[in-house]
Symmetry: C2
Subunit: 142 residues, 2 copies
């Protein structure tokens, strides 16, 4: 009965995937959450972006972002530069150590993705991602 609800299946799959992500990193002696990984990728590809822009891209509140950035900054992965054009905003950027760490994290994420899609063909994986995207847009403006 519950198993025929999309919301329930989504929640269960998400939690299993999350657990595999955590154990993948733990086995490699690293610590990182999926949210932190997404943040690092976004900052790398969009160096100089502000916290507001980042929070919009991640669809989380700007106040939620602060402790995550603090953590990653404390670990030496990123820096909040002063913006030369706007005194209110911070220009976010990875440090060299952050770049290096992210390269390793990306390898771990790749292995993780391979594991969670082990039961699916390449076409099925693509279809799944596409269906999830459609659910997301149907569910709301998030």
């Amino acid at each position: 009965m519950l198993t025929q609800l999309l919301g329930y299946g989504l929640r269960r799959a998400q939690s299993a995937v999350f657990a595999d992500f955590a154990s993948t990193f733990a086995r490699a002696g690293e610590t990182l959450t999926p949210g932190e990984f997404g943040l690092l990728v976004l900052v790398e590809r969009n160096a100089g972006l502000s916290q507001m822009a980042l929070s919009r891209a991640l669809a989380i509140d700007r106040s939620t972002l602060v402790p995550i950035l603090n953590r990653l900054q404390a670990r030496g992965f990123l820096v909040r530069h002063a913006s030369p054009t706007d005194g209110r905003t911070h220009a976010l950027a990875l440090t060299p150590a952050g770049e290096k760490a992210l390269a390793k994290f990306a390898r771990l994420v790749k292995a993780h993705e391979k594991r969670i899609t082990a039961g699916l063909s390449a076409a099925e994986t693509r279809a799944l991602i596409e269906l999830l995207e459609r659910v997301r847009t149907a569910a709301g403006p998030l």
Copy 2:
């Protein structure tokens, strides 16, 4: 780049679906989390089950279950009966008020499900649920 990662798509879809669940209930003047709904359904269909059995079925730690049960019990939806056969366990059951509330909740969930699957055909919805199930089993014993 992130959008091609299953884990990322899953997280985003899940959070949008969660938001729609919350707003569906809020608009109806009700308060319930997806986890609470799943718990109520499981207790209804398996009256008398223990907290350990329930935590296994939900794949959450038994200590996580305690505050959730406390909340639902305080709202008068369920009761922890003493088990006649095992003094350690509680026999969980819905109260009449809980049954009635669950009936209403189920209607709200149905409307919610309809909304989040609005962009999908019936066949696509079934396929999506089936793919999620396969991801869950591939990802781990959760």
